[in-house]
Symmetry: C2
Amino acid sequence: MTPPASSASGHASPASRPIAFVGVGRMGANMARRLADCGHRITGVYDTHAPAAAALAAELGTLHAKSLAEAAAAAEIIFTVVSDDAAQLSVFADPAGGTDSLLAPSAKPRGKTFVNCATLAPATHIEIARRAAEAGAHTLEACMASSIPQARSGTLYLMCAGETEVFARLEPLLRQLATDLRHLGPAGRAAQAKALVNMVMNINTAALAEGLGLGQALGLDLDILREIFAQTGANSQVLKTDGEDMQNRAHDCFFSAAHAAKDSTIAWHLGCETGLHLPLAAATKLQFDKLTALGLGHLDKSAVAELTFRGRHA
Amino acid sequence: MTPPASSASGHASPASRPIAFVGVGRMGANMARRLADCGHRITGVYDTHAPAAAALAAELGTLHAKSLAEAAAAAEIIFTVVSDDAAQLSVFADPAGGTDSLLAPSAKPRGKTFVNCATLAPATHIEIARRAAEAGAHTLEACMASSIPQARSGTLYLMCAGETEVFARLEPLLRQLATDLRHLGPAGRAAQAKALVNMVMNINTAALAEGLGLGQALGLDLDILREIFAQTGANSQVLKTDGEDMQNRAHDCFFSAAHAAKDSTIAWHLGCETGLHLPLAAATKLQFDKLTALGLGHLDKSAVAELTFRGRHA
């Protein structure tokens, strides 16, 4: 276990600054557990699903914040791990509207730093950074290209974007969450890179589903076919993570089809904005949209195979 | 270097049986060189491009056959390494028509074995096997999932199909060409598996081109983006083989876009025959068809990036 950082100066080190978490699903909760293990003070947790926050608060012996403002008020560094763009914009709602918000006056946002981990449209991160700056707060986007076990063990792959000074200040803290950590530039840059990672990953996933589905329809032995794929130009990371699951219809969720649909849509929008013709990105977006429309968005992204194997849901 | 096989029995061992090559482009020529290095007797070479056959015949000190029938007559095992289905059907033309053919009476086909290495529609291999059987000859399909350097060094990945007895008889010979060798079943099975390998490979290639093209349009550093892809769910074999080439427009041909178009079309036909909905396979076929229609089919398959990067050929 990495020991907590210490500071000989009079300034608060990242290790000593109180930390809150907003959004404590499996990713957020595991990140909080990891930082607590490293000796950091987790001083508040919040989730729209109150029982999740209550359970984690009890586990970590910390405050179960009943509002966003209360969570932010309890800490100096606030991690947000929410589900999508709408949720992210909502937790940073304009405080002038009087709704609960991380930027409400009672949240005392001035000087605080918000670390936003969801996979979002780049424009959302830019908008959040603008709203936070108006309230005197800082933001850093920290996009994760890894999953729940890596969050627990502090071995995430983190792509960050935001002001260089903010990144530098948080880097020691983030290194306790991530074995790979990059600063890619100003607000929006990490979200762009993350969107591209997930766009290519999702296309490769849908491609694999087509290959295995066609192999099955032709009567080939899929164990052997996957071995062949692994040893040839058809090899990919998703073959390792999703191939056997597609074959066995084992779609327990690690990365949901609904998230894949969302991320492919973010990338597809970027493609539209740039005017590029990206037919595979478009076809893949439609596959994951279809899966979600069929009510299967809660399954793992490997469930895209349900659309290509003969006699399954399609 | 693997020594040639020897046989203590009175029967001819595979090593001692004369071998001819039909189609001596870079793959076929390198396979012939490798077998000659292993001590096999190459007794004839043929190519529709006569200078290629003449040069290889001079290099190996063997017969430059002036017809298909002469090539087949010169050997007991005949490797065919042709470009496509039409070429494969042509070299096995019905001898009743009086055209030059590996099955012409003067080729003395009875008891001979034809090893067919091109990536073809499965139905073509089945038809060739039927024609050869009518002439008293045997066939084995030996689909290669590797490239020119592997042919030279005897480290090919070979997927075979045909009668078990034929495969067993040729296995010692084929092991001098391949480090990975599989028998997948009766005629057509290897072509099916190969079509699926190339279908998935081509989709992943087109996906990578979209990801890098969009990354460039967004102003991301593509060296860093490729590193990120390599460490995340976007990783793939084609990222290793084609990523940097796409970025640098280095499309010297290892596997041509025209071949990719052909192979994606074979897989797309299989999808149509099985009635499956394979939107990514279809979109990828169209991309490589388009590249070929634009006159870029001679470039490496990495040139699909020319269709997705802003300001290139598209």
